[in-house]
């Protein structure tokens, strides 16, 4: 099997792989679905901002402020190009995908009767059973605040969206649909351009707003917001080889410019008296305060890095690793995969359970061998209940993982199983 990527070269660009863990073990990092590691170029872009150009963007009358503004807005342009947005003004920098989703939910909640965003009793918000808490709880709260009803798509036994009640979920009552692009537990990719094109068409036909949580897809495969035909899309920088503390909300300009603001304060106003204020158009309307400039600049560098390596190659590489891992793991006694067991429409996230070994114990043993995985409910508690498990062990791969990491994982799981079951 020839890899699409030169992983040795890539690894050398991520300083963290120089360290050893739990004694003398090399670091086998299989927790990128929680957060990714960062290449030197991202760290250098942030440092360069601070050591040469640091000032408050949009606010100063001096050279540093000009440069800071240009770097910050340049990062916005990079994100716009990366997502194929039709304008830079469609890119809002937030602190995280969690904030992005809350932004949309609160903004809608702030819409007055008469506004096309206003929600009320009788309206419906639709999510799915495979959502991360970040794309579930904000909608529960919005429903509670407005009187709208929250409904959801179930998940089939093989980890796919269950569309059997499509017509009763997506109809003229439906005002907002928020779905994940890739499940952070199952690995399932919801292919809105392919298998799920009917769902997408129906959302459009009833005129509902459509938000895609792309936290697990944007870092791993080419995402084109115009092709996806959604209204909002969000991801977090820290999962896309970027810094912590920065997220993105993309939204259609014509919607953003009409939506009520969320956070209010400096830099987003048109006019202010003691009694009231009027607001600028997007993106400024949604970026109150001195922004997370260095993090936005770092995110720009991260997207440059992903572009340089090529998302097509990254995806191909991950599919190969996923196939190898699924084959290897399935051979282990008592191991069950939670999610699709083949690589069709599937990302590089694999959740599993091993009979008789609790995920916590399994994760602990793997950690001792230098293998970093995540265990628990992965912020998707309803999905755990759906599959009648308390928790799973989750391994996730990224551009800096290679076949030897997969071999180590499979061997490690088997060794841990024996440790707990056979002594």
């Amino acid at each position: 099997m020839k890899s699409a990527l030169n992983v040795d070269q890539i690894k050398s660009e991520f300083p963290i792989f120089n360290r050893l863990v739990r004694g003398e073990n090399r670091l086998i990092y299989l927790d990128s679905a929680a957060t990714s590691q960062k290449p030197l170029s991202v760290l250098d872009a942030e440092r360069d901002f601070y050591t040469k150009h640091n000032a408050a963007a949009h606010r100063g009358a001096h050279q540093l402020a000009e440069e800071a503004t240009e770097l910050f807005e340049g990062a916005r342009a990079k994100v716009a190009t990366f997502l194929n947005a039709s304008s830079e003004n469609e890119i809002i920098f937030t602190k995280s995908a969690t904030e992005s989703i809350n932004l949309v939910a609160y903004s809608i909640g702030n819409a007055k009767p008469g506004s096309k965003f206003h929600l009320k009793a009788g309206d419906r918000i639709v999510v799915s059973e495979m959502e991360h808490h970040a794309n579930l709880i904000p909608w529960q709260e919005l429903a509670a605040r407005t009187g709208a009803e929250l409904s959801w798509f179930g998940v089939t036994d093989d980890g796919r969206l269950d569309l059997s009640n499509l017509d009763s979920l997506i109809n003229e009552k439906t005002k907002m649909v928020a779905l994940t692009h890739q499940s952070n537990v199952l690995g399932t990719i919801n292919d809105f351009n392919g298998d799920l094109v009917k769902l997408r068409a129906q959302i459009k036909a009833v005129g509902a707003l459509f938000l895609i949580d792309a936290c697990q897809s944007v870092p791993h495969l080419k995402v084109d917001v115009q092709e996806l035909g959604c209204d909002f899309l969000t991801f977090s920088g820290h999962k896309a080889v970027g810094p912590t503390g920065v997220g993105v909300l993309w939204g259609r300009s014509e919607l953003l410019d009409e939506m009520p603001p969320f956070l209010t304060g400096g830099s987003m106003i048109e006019n202010v008296t003691m009694q009231s204020a009027t607001y600028l158009p997007a993106p400024k309307r949604f970026e109150a305060g001195v922004p997370n400039m260095a993090q936005a600049v770092g995110l720009g560098a991260a997207l440059d890095y992903l572009d340089k390596v090529s998302l097509t190659a990254i995806h191909e590489h991950e599919v190969a690793l996923t196939k190898q891992a699924l084959d290897g793991l399935k051979s282990i006694r008592g191991l069950s995969i939670v999610g699709p067991t083949d690589v069709k429409n599937r990302g590089a996230v694999i959740s599993f359970t091993v009979e008789g070994v609790h995920p916590h114990d399994l994760g602990q043993a793997l950690d001792q061998y230098g293998i970093a995985v995540r265990t628990g409910h992965h912020c998707a508690w309803p999905l755990m209940r759906r599959f009648k498990v308390v928790a799973t062990t989750r391994a996730s791969f990224y551009l800096y993982n290679d076949q030897s990491d997969v071999v180590a994982l499979v061997e490690g799981v088997d060794r841990a199983r024996k440790y707990f079951m056979e002594r």
């Binding site: 916590h360 602990q364 928790a391 707990f420």
Partner: protein, 147 residues
């Protein structure tokens, strides 16, 4: 290797053969505690009579550390006075939060000292404490109820 220092024989024994893991009926108080970071759960029935812990029974889903800890706790605290039990809970808790510096007093904590190694793994401290905190809660509720 370090894994063995965490998973001592005593812990794995209790995990495989848990004590008092079957809820006795008509408890003075029943409590249900959840470890929110992982979803592990314990239901604990406390029989409390005349200032004394008459019986502790439990049911739980969870990792070996938490299951073994429930088992050890129920054995150790059964029959103790409220005061003795509370003081043992505190001693156990101190050991778990010591980051490896407090190895525990075996005369007091008996099998409980096997969990001293857990204190070096901050993410697992909650697993070992889950049942003990549930017990403490149940005990306090029982005392309030009695008064």
């Amino acid at each position: 290797m370090e894994l063995d220092s965490l998973y001592q024989e005593v812990i794995l024994d209790h995990y495989k053969r848990p004590q008092n893991k079957s809820l006795a009926s008509n408890p003075t108080i029943q409590v249900h505690h959840v470890n929110t970071s992982c979803g592990d759960e314990v239901t604990l029935n406390l029989h409390f009579k005349g200032e004394r812990v008459e019986n502790i029974t439990w049911d739980a889903v969870g990792c070996s550390i938490s299951q073994a800890s429930h088992s050890v706790m129920s054995e150790l605290l059964k029959g103790k006075s409220a005061e003795e039990a509370l003081s043992l809970v505190e001693e156990f808790q101190r050991m778990l939060q010591s980051k490896g510096s407090d190895l525990g007093n075996e005369e007091h904590l008996q099998d409980g000292v096997a969990f001293a190694g857990v204190s070096k793994f901050p993410a697992r401290v909650k697993c070992a404490l889950l049942g003990w905190m549930a017990f403490k809660d149940a005990l306090q509720q029982s005392i309030t109820k009695a008064n």
